[in-house]
Symmetry: C2
Subunit: 128 residues, 2 copies
DNA sequence: TGACTTACATAGCACCGTCATGTATAGTAC
DNA sequence: GTACTATACATGACGGTGCTATGTAAGTCA
């Protein structure tokens, strides 16, 4: 049985974070699919459990878009692997995605604080 | 012309954040569609510009799922509005979504730091 | 009268993760 | 030597979601 029990993170959140996470990992060092799955799990302390059926299409898309480049290689043990490295375009995209994430994260933090305040809350008055 | 020039945030990120943002806004105070669009814009300093074609289906889905409740009302000026309030289930979902977001955000922050370090980076060694 | 804003709604489209499945091979336990 | 597990990559059907365009209606203001 291929284990699929734990479902911690909803699919929209996975979709939103898969690109910046993969690009950031590859910005650190070249890697390959199977290793990325484990890196993500360790990185999140087990909170995130990506599936291979989700990751490989992501890698193919990133390569199709020119953000990463893949090349076939062989491990010490003789297994074939597809190693990916990030491109200049990929670094630019990572920067853009990071900016977008932080914009949304900043907004979320604001309302989380506001939502937990008693008696409602107000946004900035009106002035321009 | 219905303006659609600015496209700051990618759709996956919008999909991932729309539910927690709407629920958090309604956790602060009751509101309605058109006002939420403006609240989100102000909240993000203009960085996020939701479209009505995206928000209304979100509100309908949240209501269908029991996270919010809608009721028709009328503004001071006589316009009809559909006011929404959050339910107990909605508060629970908000809490869950917030937890998930923070899990992913924590992972992203780690790799962003690591990715900007020279010479790559390593995850916890191997010891099982 | 006409333009703009407020206010809600929906259909067609493309994209993306999920789930199941397929293929192949190295390592390990018996 | 024969299972079984882990490693490693790939894809197709399906459902859900935002995007874009469009429709409807009414209040505001010149």
């Amino acid at each position: 049985m291929r284990t699929h029990e734990i479902m911690e993170i909803n699919k929209e959140l996975i979709a939103a974070s898969s690109t910046p996470i993969v690009l950031a990992i590859l910005a650190g060092e070249d890697s390959y699919g199977y290793a990325i799955l484990q890196q993500v799990r360790e990185l999140s302390g087990g909170g995130m459990q990506w599936t291979d059926g989700m990751l490989y299409p992501v890698l193919h898309r990133l390569e199709r878009n020119g953000y990463i480049r893949g090349r076939w290689g062989v491990s010490d043990t003789g297994r074939r692997r597809k190693y990916y490295s990030i491109t200049e375009q990929g670094l630019a995209e990572l920067s853009e995605q990071r900016k977008q994430w932080q914009t949304v994260d900043a907004a979320l933090r604001k309302i989380w604080v506001a939502a937990s305040l008693p008696g409602g809350w107000t946004l900035s008055p009106t002035p321009t």
